[in-house]
C-alpha cells in the first residue's frame, strides 16, 4: 500500500513540474527557424548496436551519424556527392555514392579502410553483402560513363582485400532514361532487378546468368521474403510483383501505391510483413500473402525516398528533409512521435504535441509571442527557449522498450531545477 502511495506522491512532483513548465511558457510557442534549409534525406540506416541513426542527403555527400541516446552527432564527408545507400556491417560503415564509389570506414574512428571503384564504374545506388560475408555486390549505372553500355552492371568486391572479384552486365538493356535497380543474394543465387524490366538470376561466384524473367515494368527495388520463398519487386508505377523463388515464376502482384515505390523491405521481426515507401508520401506495411495492409503512415505528401526501423518505430526520410518518427505498435494506427531535421552542422528534434525540442544549435529555434506572432527577444526569451531545449526529447522520440539506457537512471543531487521538468 505504501509503495502505491509513494508512486502517487512521485507523480505529483512530476505533475507540478509539467504544470509549472506549461505556466512558464504560456503565451509563447516555439518555431523552427532553419528547417527550410534542410538537405533532402536520401538514405537512412538504424544501427542497433550503438543506437545510432545514419543519415545521408541528396544535395551533399555528408553522412551524419546521430547517437539517439545522447544526441551527439558526428559526420564524414568522404564522398563528394550524394550517398545513395548506407549500412553498417561488422562495425564498419559501407556507403554507395553517386561519385561512383563504395567506401568502407570504421564506425568509431571513421578511418577509411576500403575505396572501391574502377574507371568504368558509374553511379552506385546500391550494395548488398554476400552470404559468406566476405564480399559486397555493388549495383552500378555504368551507362553514365560508358556510352556503349546499355545496361546496369553488378560488381563484386572483396570486403577483405578490396579486390574486384567479378562483374556482370547481363541485366537487360534499359527501357527508359530513368536508371534504377537493385540486387540481393539469397540461397546461393544472385538476383538483380533493373529498369530493363528483367529479373535476372546469376551464380553469385562466377556471376554468370542462370535465368531471367521479363516483367516489362520499370523495376526499381526489391526484397526477399524468406518465410514465403518470395521476392517482392517494386516498380515505378506503385506495383509490387511477387516472384516465387522455388517455382521460378511470378506469383501475383498488387498495386500498393499511386506513385513510384522508392523502397521496399521485409520487416526484420515479422516474417510475413513487407514495408513499402513511396513518392505519394506514405509508408505501408503489408501482410503477405494476401497483401493485407496493417500500417499506414502518412507524411503529408512528402516525396519519400527511404525508411528504416527501430523495433516498432518507423523512421522516414524524403525530399523536404523532415525525418518523421512513427510509433507503429498501436494496432489502431500508427502515431507520430516527432520530427527530426538534420542540417549541415546541427540537428533539431521536435516532439509531437509539445513545446519541447532538442537541438545542438539553439538558433535552429525561436520563441514566438502568441499575441504579436513575432519572435520574443531579451534574456527572458533566451531563458525560456533554453528551457524548452531538452536532451531528453531525442530519447523520448526514439525510445523503445528494448532500449538499455543508463541515462534513465536517477540524476545527481541538485539537478537543475526547472530543466528537469522534462527528464
Amino acid at each position: 500500500m505504501s509503495i502505491v502511495k509513494y508512486e502517487a506522491a512521485e507523480q505529483s512532483v512530476a505533475r507540478y513540474k509539467a504544470g509549472f513548465f506549461d505556466q512558464s511558457l504560456e503565451g509563447y510557442s516555439v518555431r523552427p527557424t532553419k528547417i527550410n534549409l534542410n538537405p533532402a534525406v536520401r538514405s537512412l540506416f538504424y544501427y542497433p548496436k550503438e543506437n545510432c541513426l545514419l543519415v545521408s542527403h541528396i544535395q551533399n555527400g555528408r553522412l551524419h551519424i546521430i547517437d539517439l541516446t545522447t544526441g551527439k552527432t558526428r559526420f564524414h564527408d568522404q564522398h563528394g556527392r550524394t550517398i545513395r545507400k548506407v549500412g553498417v556491417f561488422r562495425n564498419e560503415i559501407i556507403t554507395a555514392s553517386w561519385d561512383a564509389s563504395v567506401r568502407v570506414v570504421d564506425f568509431n574512428s571513421l578511418a577509411p579502410r576500403l575505396f572501391l571503384t574502377d574507371d568504368m564504374m558509374g553511379r552506385t545506388p546500391f550494395f548488398f553483402v554476400s552470404e559468406e560475408e566476405n564480399a559486397v555486390y555493388v549495383f552500378c549505372y555504368d551507362s553514365d560513363k560508358d556510352v556503349e553500355c546499355l545496361s546496369n552492371r553488378i560488381r563484386k568486391w572483396s570486403l577483405e582485400t578490396g579486390e574486384l572479384l567479378g562483374i556482370t552486365g547481363d541485366t537487360g538493356n534499359h527501357i527508359s532514361f530513368l536508371s534504377s535497380g537493385s540486387t540481393l543474394v539469397h540461397e546461393n543465387r544472385l538476383y538483380v532487378v533493373s529498369d530493363s524490366g528483367y529479373l535476372t538470376i546469376h551464380d553469385p561466384v562466377s556471376m554468370q546468368i542462370i535465368d531471367r524473367l521479363f516483367i516489362n515494368e520499370n523495376l526499381r527495388t526489391f526484397c526477399c521474403v524468406p518465410a514465403f520463398g518470395l521476392l517482392a519487386i517494386a516498380d515505378l508505377n506503385g506495383y509490387v510483383h511477387l516472384f516465387d523463388i522455388r517455382r521460378n515464376c511470378l506469383a501475383g502482384e498488387n498495386r500498393c501505391h499511386f506513385s513510384d515505390i522508392s523502397s521496399i523491405k521485409a520487416h526484420p521481426s515479422k516474417p510475413d510483413v513487407i514495408i513499402t515507401s513511396s513518392f505519394d508520401g506514405t509508408v505501408k506495411f503489408w501482410e503477405l500473402p494476401d497483401f493485407r495492409q496493417t500500417v499506414h503512415a502518412d507524411t503529408g505528401g512528402q516525396h519519400l525516398w527511404t525508411f528504416t526501423l527501430k523495433n516498432d518505430l518507423l523512421i522516414t526520410g524524403g525530399d523536404n528533409g523532415d525525418i518523421w518518427v512513427f510509433d507503429t505498435s498501436d494496432p489502431e494506427g500508427c502515431s507520430l512521435r516527432g520530427i527530426m531535421n538534420v542540417l549541415h552542422d546541427s540537428i533539431a528534434v521536435r516532439k509531437e504535441g509539445s513545446k519541447n525540442f532538442y537541438t545542438n544549435d539553439i538558433t535552429n529555434f525561436e520563441l514566438i509571442n502568441d499575441k504579436t506572432n513575432q519572435p520574443a527577444t531579451g534574456k527572458q526569451a533566451e531563458y525560456l527557449l533554453n528551457l524548452c531545449n531538452s536532451e531528453s526529447v531525442i530519447r523520448e522520440v526514439f525510445h523503445t522498450d528494448s532500449d538499455m539506457d543508463f541515462l534513465l537512471q536517477e540524476p545527481e543531487r541538485f539537478c537543475l531545477q526547472l530543466k528537469d521538468t522534462f527528464s
Binding site: 509513494y6 506522491a9 541538485f414 530543466k419
Partner: protein, 459 residues
C-alpha cells in the same frame, strides 16, 4: 557547514627542491607558505633553469630517475606558464585540470603538454638527460619515449618527486625497453581516462558552482518538493474509505513516512557522479590490474590513517575522510566492462596524489610503500587497437550522458551569464511560489475530505 579544504592534484618543482629530507620513507613537510614568503621563483617567469634544476636535484640526493621526473615536471610547468599563463604556485592551487572561462570545456594539462612535448620540449629534456647521465656515470642510452609515457601515463608528475625514489632509471634503457608502440599504447589508455576524469571534474565543478549560486532557492524547492510528495500521499490516504478519523489519517501518514525513510527502495540517495560509470555485473579487470587497484587502495588507506583512528568528536582532517570515502566508493563499485577498471585505477591514482600532496602541505607523514603498483605492464595484455577505440567511444558516450543528466551546459550558462542567472533566480522563485500554492491546495482538499468524513454519521 564548513567547506572541506581541498588538496591540489599537483606538487610543484619548487616544493620538490625545498623538500628537506627526500629519500626516506616517512617524510616531513616542505611548507608552501614559507616558500611563498620568500620566493624568487614566482618573480621569475622563466621558472627554474635546467642546469640549476639538475644541480639542486642532485644536491637533494635525488636519484637519476627522480631528476628526470623533475625535468619533465619543470617542462610542464613551463608549458603551463607559456600556454595557460599559470605560475607553478597557481598550478598547484588550480590543479592540472584547467577549466575554460566558458565553464563548459576543460583542458587536461598533462595531455596538452604531451601533445606538444616532442615538438617543443623533447630536445631540451634530452640534453638534460645527457647531463644527468654524465653526473651519475650512466653509459647506456635512455629512451625518452618510454620515460615520458611512463611518467605522464602513471601521472607521476602529480606526486612529490621525493616519493618516487623506488623507481629505477635502468628500466628505461633503450636496450631493455618496450617497443615505442607499447609505450604509446599505454599512454593512450591513460590519456583517454585522464580526459574522462577531467570531464567529470568539470561536471562536478559546475554542479558545485551552480549549487553555491542558487543554494537557497534549490534547497527551498527540494524541501517543498518533499512536502508536496508527502501531502500528495496524505491526500491519497485521506481518500481511503478505511480512514475515518483525523487520528487514523495521522497514524497512517506517520507509518508511511517512517516506511519510506527506512526502505531504501523508496529513498532517493545522493549519487556521486563517478559512480555512474560503474554498474553490475562484476567484471574481472584485465591482466593484474585488479591487484594494482587493490594495492593503490591500500596505499590510500594507509595515507588516510587519521580517518581510521580519529577519536575527537570533530574530524581533524575532513579532506582525508572525504577522500577515503571517495576511494572506497570507487574501489567497491563493480566494473561493467573493459573500460571501468581503468577508470578505477586512474581515479585512485588521482585521489592518492591529492592525499599525498595534502599530507605534505599539512606536515603529515607520507607512506609510499605501494607505489610499485604503478607500471605499464598491465595495459599491454588484452586490449587491441580496436578495443582502445571502442573504449574511447564508450567513454565519450558516457561522458556526454553524464553532462546531460547533470544539465552541465544549462547550469554553466546560469553560472556564467549574470543576466541569465538573474532570470533563472526569478523563475526559481516563481517555482517556489507555484509549489507553495500546490501544497496549500492539497492541504485544503485533505481538510475538506476529512471534514466531509467527520460530518457523515458512521454506519
Amino acid at each position: 557547514m564548513n567547506e572541506i579544504k581541498k588538496a591540489s592534484d599537483y606538487y610543484p618543482v619548487f616544493l620538490d627542491l625545498n623538500d628537506p629530507d627526500p629519500g626516506s620513507e616517512v617524510k616531513p613537510l616542505a611548507t608552501l607558505n614559507s616558500f611563498l614568503a620568500n620566493s624568487a621563483a614566482l618573480d621569475n617567469p622563466e621558472l627554474i633553469n635546467m642546469d640549476e634544476l639538475i644541480r639542486r636535484g642532485i644536491k637533494s640526493n635525488y636519484t637519476p630517475f627522480q631528476c628526470m621526473v623533475l625535468l619533465v615536471k619543470n617542462a610542464m610547468e613551463g608549458h603551463a606558464f607559456m600556454f595557460h599563463g599559470l605560475l607553478p604556485a597557481e598550478l598547484m592551487e588550480k590543479g592540472t585540470i584547467l577549466l575554460g572561462n566558458d565553464t563548459e570545456t576543460c583542458n587536461v594539462l598533462p595531455l596538452d603538454f604531451y601533445d606538444n612535448f616532442f615538438a617543443i620540449y623533447a630536445d631540451g629534456i634530452r640534453r638534460g638527460m645527457a647531463m644527468i647521465a654524465r653526473e651519475f656515470n650512466i653509459h647506456e642510452e635512455i629512451s625518452l619515449d618510454a620515460l615520458i609515457c611512463f611518467i605522464l601515463g602513471n601521472q607521476l608528475q602529480k606526486f612529490p618527486v621525493s616519493a618516487l625514489d623506488i623507481f629505477d632509471h635502468s628500466a628505461f634503457f633503450t636496450s631493455r625497453n618496450n617497443t615505442p608502440r607499447e609505450e604509446n599504447f599505454f599512454y593512450k589508455i591513460s590519456g583517454i581516462v585522464q580526459q574522462v576524469i577531467g570531464e567529470i571534474f568539470l561536471i562536478e565543478t559546475v554542479n558545485d558552482l551552480y549549487e553555491a549560486k542558487f543554494k537557497e532557492m534549490i534547497h527551498g524547492i527540494v524541501s517543498r518538493e518533499q512536502v508536496l510528495a508527502r501531502v500528495s500521499a496524505k491526500l491519497v490516504m485521506a481518500n481511503d474509505p478505511a480512514i475515518r478519523t483525523e487520528q487514523d489519517l495521522e497514524k497512517t501518514y506517520f507509518d508511511y513516512i517512517v516506511t519510506a525513510a527506512m526502505n531504501p527502495e523508496l529513498r532517493k540517495g545522493t549519487i556521486r557522479v563517478l559512480s555512474f560509470l560503474f554498474n553490475s555485473p562484476k567484471m574481472t579487470p584485465p591482466g593484474n590490474l585488479g591487484a594494482k587497484i587493490k594495492s593503490l587502495y591500500r596505499s590510500i588507506s594507509k595515507n588516510c590513517r587519521e580517518t581510521h583512528t580519529v577519536t575527537e568528536q570533530e574530524l581533524r582532517h575532513p579532506f582525508l575522510d572525504q577522500s577515503f570515502m571517495d576511494a572506497s566508493l570507487i574501489y567497491n563499485d563493480h566494473a561493467l566492462n573493459k573500460m571501468d577498471p581503468f577508470v578505477q585505477y586512474f581515479s585512485l591514482i588521482d585521489i592518492l596524489a591529492r592525499i599525498v600532496n595534502y599530507r605534505k602541505t599539512e606536515n603529515l607523514p607520507v607512506v609510499f610503500s605501494d607505489f610499485t603498483a604503478m607500471s605499464n605492464d598491465s595495459f599491454n595484455q588484452s586490449l587491441t587497437d580496436e578495443d582502445v577505440q571502442n573504449i574511447k567511444t564508450q567513454f565519450d558516450k558516457k561522458v556526454t550522458g553524464l553532462r546531460q543528466v547533470n544539465f552541465t551546459e544549462s547550469k554553466a550558462k546560469h553560472v556564467r551569464d549574470e543576466d541569465l542567472g538573474k532570470v533563472h533566480h526569478d523563475y526559481l522563485q516563481l517555482q517556489i511560489d507555484y509549489l507553495d500554492e500546490q501544497i496549500r491546495e492539497i492541504l485544503a482538499k485533505i481538510k475538506n475530505i476529512m471534514y466531509d468524513k467527520g460530518i457523515k454519521p458512521s454506519s
